[in-house]
Amino acid sequence: MEEFGRPDDFEDYWNYLLLRLKKIPLKAKEVLNPLHSNEFCKCYEVFFLSFDSYKLFGYLSIPFGEGPFPAIFSGSSYRSAVEPLSQGETKEKRGRFVIFSAASRGQRNADKPFVAKYPGLFTEGIDSPYSYVYRKIVGDWLRGIQYLVTRPEIDRKQIIVAKHNSLPIIAGSLCPDITHVVAKPGCFAGINDKNSEELNDYFRMYPDKYKCVLNTLSYFNLKNFCKGLRARTLLWGSSDVLKNLASDISGKTDIQQSEQSQFKDGLHEEEWIAHNLGFSDPIIPSCWKN
């Protein structure tokens, strides 16, 4: 695939989104969820409005005890489900961090009127930057972060956006509140990931749309977000592939190659987070401790 560059109206495209978000009230409503609360935290279901006044949903975990607490924003993965805590992470983590796991439009509990398809979401509306669903999804991430920073329990000097896709980089660049980013650049950096096959399907089916799709993707080219990203950053991937991207990021950036082990990668990430937030030890599953 050809390199996609920087469109002339890149700033306007994203400023429009930010402006629209400013004009829409959050109208956040929290409902205590006793089922997903535990000995470490209270859990709330949160309903709030995003771009186009779309109603979103998230699980908010607030630790017991005195804050302020560091906060983790866990935005959408490429699937329909949203959990209070990602699969495989120990529940004790919910006692150290305020964790907001927020759905983007199309995911469960945020699927009216739009129901996302997997595969399919990645190319939804991709013929034009103005119809592409990922602009709205970025808006949903920003909206979730905006909600999180309204919480009095959080330490505003320690707000992490962590997800193994490209979106933490975009969100971290567009939202100055973010202090730490963990991301795994993929299709938006021209790197093959699970979305690449969907894109290939689309090009095969609609070869005449190749140029307009590349034009849309140019608005999401991660290279164009690097300068604005001032957060301390961890990128997952090959240093050969990511070194240029990392050097463009304004904040100090580490690159970590996956060892294809949920244990080794997970341990590294938890240690990175703990170290960069000033904790002496990471919170990890007991089977990772020996």
């Binding site: 529940k91 294809q260 089977c287």
Partner: protein
């Protein structure tokens, strides 16, 4: 106490369900999806009926071939929380593949949609309405879909999956003699109660949360789960099977997965334990081993 206790009527319960579900017409449909098909592979979206009047979806992939010979097939079982991907990889080796989308997942959730988290505790205090009862039958009936296809060699059907897909692989291997070979990674759910105590992570945490909120249901829950524990199905696996797992698996505690492996009576079972790996089960190191294993039994 080693868990789970094998219910005396375990076989009766499942034989009865298998019999009931065998009386339900499959009513299968298979629609080619041009967008996902290529010059090498046809991809179709399949639907078929399962118990409780629920329609189940799946991805069916057929490699292009000029031969009129019947071809072998590999069933791909889905994990618990994600959306099943289109399983095209094995088609490049000449296999048809069928990726099952069990109830509750997108495209199989019109009538049954407890959500994630939610599905694992849906009616968990009653074995006759528990969510996994229907979900396991959805998986089992994937074999019937393949048997309904003229192009498939019914003597050469394999099955694979990871996490819940690994558990479903063992379950179907135990209950469907038409399946010739199985490869299961990090099977879930093994040893429910022990896993809840050890893991402290989702998805087992869903059950822990339920029991915390409804402690008086504990006995009923334990009684129900005995019928759905992969360890109990493992005791019935008599076909060639390979199981791989990570020693540092934070989702499926290794102690419980090993118990399932030990329970498999098939003499030449292949068990791979990957130290330094978690819920990935070392699959990145295992691709060629899996391929050879399937080729040995299915080609």
């Amino acid at each position: 106490m080693r868990e789970p206790l094998f219910p005396k009527d375990f076989n009766v319960f499942w034989n009865d369900l298998l019999y009931k579900s065998s009386k339900i017409p499959l009513n299968e449909t298979c629609e080619k999806i041009e967008l996902r098909s290529s010059s090498k592979t046809d991809v179709s979206l399949v639907h078929y009926d399962s118990i409780d009047n629920i329609r189940i979806a799946g991805w069916y992939c057929l490699p292009h071939t000029t031969s009129k010979k019947k071809i072998p097939a590999i069933i791909h079982m889905p994990g618990y929380i994600g959306e099943p991907e289109i399983p095209i990889n094995h088609t490049f080796d000449g296999y048809a593949t069928f990726g099952v989308i069990t109830r509750g997942k997108l495209q199989s959730n019109n009538k049954f949609n407890p959500g994630f988290p939610g599905l694992l505790t849906h009616n968990i205090n009653d074995r006759d309405t528990y969510s996994l009862r229907g979900l396991y039958i959805d998986a089992i009936r994937a074999v019937d879909f393949l048997l309904s296809r003229d192009e498939i060699d019914s003597d050469r059907i394999g099955i694979t999956g990871g996490s819940q897909g690994g558990g479903l692989t063992i379950i179907v291997a135990a209950l469907r003699p038409e399946v010739r070979v199985a490869v299961a990674a990090a099977p879930f759910p093994c040893g429910f109660i022990k896993s809840i105590e050890l893991a402290k992570t989702y998805p087992f945490e869903e059950i822990a949360e339920y029991l915390r909120l409804f402690p008086n249901q504990k006995q009923k829950v334990i009684e129900t789960l005995r019928y759905f524990d992969v360890i109990n199905f493992a005791k019935c696996v008599e076909i060639p099977i390979m199981v791989l797992f990570g020693v540092q698996d934070s989702v499926c505690p290794v102690e419980t997965v090993m118990e399932a492996c030990e329970a498999i009576p098939y003499k030449n079972k292949k068990i791979y334990s990957y130290d330094g790996h978690g819920h990935d089960a070392g699959r990145s190191n295992h691709v060629s081993i899996t391929k050879k294993y399937f080729n040995h039994y299915l080609k």
